[in-house]
């Protein structure tokens, strides 16, 4: 992916660009809000990583102006922990997601893929499919190879999230945010316990487990070995 990194701290920007390069993303850096606005308006990026504290125009302002100009590039805000106001203002201004600094590159990567995918699938019907698994978000139904799956509400929502992001990583943090509205990480393995339960429900003894554990990061739904 081609990314625009907006970060006024040169050291942090350099590190972020290096981390993203390792994950196969190319990036350009803008060191203030004005530069970010002109770059994002003139060139096409797959996504923008936007720091909140910036000279001239702050991150919230940049997000707002880009949306006003009709530029619907996916935006992920990077905020310092504890700045709830900025986080909410950012989402209000049109950002797609937020991450607390310093974010792990794997986390940034997973968010980018999820957002880009979401943008691409926005106008589909409520049916998601991957491999032999099909979920109908609207009718709240899931099947594997035509066999109906019995899932609790939370389990169903987690499965939807995994299938929607099939073949890319869904981090624990993403699940905490989207499924539980947690803006903190609980001390117990809430996600892992629910995934274990989902596996019990969707996998028959002779079937392949489509949910792959990515250690230290999260889970990935795969449609093939």
């Amino acid at each position: 992916m081609q990314l625009l990194v907006v970060e006024d701290d040169a050291m942090a920007a350099k590190q972020l660009v290096a981390d993203l390069a390792e994950l196969g993303h190319g990036s350009m850096v803008a060191q203030d809000g004005r530069a970010a606005l002109s770059l994002a308006t003139d060139s096409k990026f797959d996504a923008v990583l936007l720091d909140v504290m910036l000279p001239y125009v702050d991150g919230v302002g940049v997000a707002k102006l880009l949306r006003e100009r009709g530029i619907d590039v996916p935006i992920i805000m990077l905020t310092a922990l504890g700045d709830l106001d900025q986080r909410l203002d950012g989402l209000d201004a049109g950002a797609d997601d937020y991450l607390v600094k310093p974010a792990a590159p794997a986390e940034i990567d997973a968010r980018l893929r999820a957002i880009v995918r979401r943008a691409g699938r926005a106008n589909e019907s409520g049916i998601l499919r991957s491999g032999d698994i099909e979920v109908n978000e609207v009718k709240h139904r899931a099947t594997r190879g035509g066999r109906a799956l019995v899932l609790q509400n939370l389990e169903f929502r987690i499965l939807c999230e995994l299938v929607r992001n099939a073949n890319s990583v869904v981090t624990r943090q993403m699940l905490y945010q989207t499924i539980w509205n947690f803006d903190f990480e609980p001390a117990t393995n809430v996600v892992d316990a629910h995934i274990r339960r989902i596996r019990l429900q969707i996998n028959q003894p002779d079937e392949r487990d489509p949910i792959k554990t990515i250690r230290g990061v999260g889970y990935m739904f795969t449609d093939k070995e």
Binding site: A106, L154, A193, G216
Partner: protein, 446 residues
């Protein structure tokens, strides 16, 4: 025992002054009263001397003449005279006596039936020839003056005592009012409202100056706290970035370590880094809550529904950990609050019960209405915590010796306490006999 309260000291002080005042007035009255008496005695003695001298003590005729002159010459309405001879026959005077008073000075009242005199002072002098000279002073005026004097003294003492008592009450109330204002501020600061200050009335009185000085002290403490927090935050941020990078490197290595003999070691390293990052996250969350700014985002929250939601989330975790969880939430209970923090609070409380009890422990999450409060209760029937150590587990990094092997950084209940306070509530730990009961009480209308 030494009196310590302002009221006791004031009461003793005012009582002492009033007693001294009464004594002083009594002595004052006594002296005046005695002086009056002596003046009367001196006057009748002088009169007697003049009459006796007129007859050189023996000539009763000369004395009688002198008495007649005296009575005629000055109109002594309050002075009565009588001269009798040795046989008791009346020789001169304007006094009618049923019986002669005893020799020397004596007082008499109406029972003596002295003609025309109700109360008086008498001087009876034996004359060498056997006769008796009686001089009587009518004391009615002296007595009424004396009575007036005592009334004035009583009235004066009463007025002064009233002024003293009123003044003492006024001073006590004024001091107490100021002290209460200060106490309220101190309580608020202790409760976490570092911005609370003593109200000033702008009078520049000593009270006001003291309150202003106290407020300046609070400002200074606040400033120092902010500096410390900034320094701590800076340090935390500076440490957190490299730590996060370290963690992602370890996680990347871990992903490629399948089958490697070092695989468990690498996983362990990653978990430890995760714990350190969690600690930073908890600390920063705690600072954020203690800063109080999240109150600005308060909205209506149904805590009963929230408890159901948290129960649903942690049910599987509790079941896997063999500590069955039940939720009793009932009808909606709405408060003003921060839903994310309240959610974190309930999660922390239940997780705390899961993590610090042996398998088989039953855990209950309840929402109870208690008058104007809502109580969020998490109770277990595990081994519990000794009452003496309740304060330890709520304090920052406070962990019991017995819990040192369990994961976590000892901030769970500190966060719960901070979130409860942010909602004007409080966290209390109680003995559930057996087990521990954590109760967060929050006012319904704060």
């Amino acid at each position: 025992m030494r009196p310590r309260s302002l009221r006791a000291i004031m009461a003793i002080y005012v009582s002492a002054i009033i007693v001294a005042l009464i004594l002083l007035r009594a002595v004052n009255y006594r002296i005046t009263h005695d002086a009056l008496g002596r003046e009367v005695d001196r006057r009748i003695a002088l009169e007697a001397v003049e009459i006796v001298d007129a007859g050189q003590g023996r000539d009763e005729g000369a004395m009688a003449a002198r008495i007649a002159t005296e009575l005629r010459e000055h109109d002594s309405a309050d002075l009565y005279l009588l001269l009798v001879d040795a046989k008791g026959r009346r020789l001169a005077g304007n006094l009618m006596l049923p019986a002669l008073p005893p020799p020397g000075y004596s007082d008499f009242g109406p029972e003596a039936k002295v003609g025309g005199v109700a109360h008086g002072r008498a001087l009876a002098r034996r004359l060498p020839e056997g006769g008796t000279l009686v001089v009587i002073s009518d004391n009615d005026e002296v007595d009424s003056f004396d009575a007036m004097l005592s009334r004035v003294q009583l009235f004066g003492t009463g007025i002064t005592a009233l002024i003293l008592i009123g003044g003492a009450i006024g001073i006590t109330l004024a001091i107490r009012g100021r002290m209460r204002a200060m106490q309220r501020t101190v309580d608020a600061v202790i409760a976490g409202d570092l911005h609370s200050r003593i109200p000033l009335d702008g009078t520049r009185t000593e009270f006001d100056r003291q309150a202003a000085a106290f407020n300046r002290m609070l400002d200074r403490i606040d400033e120092l706290m902010v500096n410390i927090k900034h320094a701590a935050k800076d340090v935390a941020h500076e440490l957190k970035s490299p730590l996060a990078r370290l963690r992602s490197r370890i996680a990347a290595i871990e992903r490629h370590s399948a089958g490697d003999p070092l695989e468990p070691e690498i996983a362990e390293l990653r978990e430890q880094t995760d714990q350190m990052l969690e600690l930073f996250a908890s600390l920063m969350r705690l600072w954020e809550i203690e800063g109080g700014h999240r109150r600005e985002r308060f909205a209506t929250v149904d805590v009963a529904a929230l408890a159901q939601e948290v129960g649903e989330t942690l049910d599987i975790v509790a079941e896997e950990a063999e500590r069955p969880l039940t939720v009793a939430a009932g009808a909606p209970v709405k408060i003003r609050g921060d839903i994310n923090l309240l959610r974190q609070m309930l999660v922390n409380l239940v997780e705390n019960a899961i993590r610090h009890t042996p398998p088989g422990t039953r855990i209950a999450l309840r929402v109870e209405r208690r008058g104007t409060l809502v109580a969020l209760v998490v109770e277990d029937d595990g081994p519990g915590i000794p009452a003496a150590e309740h304060a330890v587990v709520v304090s920052k990094f406070g962990r019991l010796e017995t819990a040192m092997h369990a994961p976590g950084q000892g901030l769970g209940l500190t966060l719960v306490d901070a979130i409860a306070r942010l909602h004007h509530g409080r966290l209390a730990l109680e003995d559930a006999g057996p087990g521990l009961r954590a109760v967060v009480e929050i006012p319904l209308h704060a």
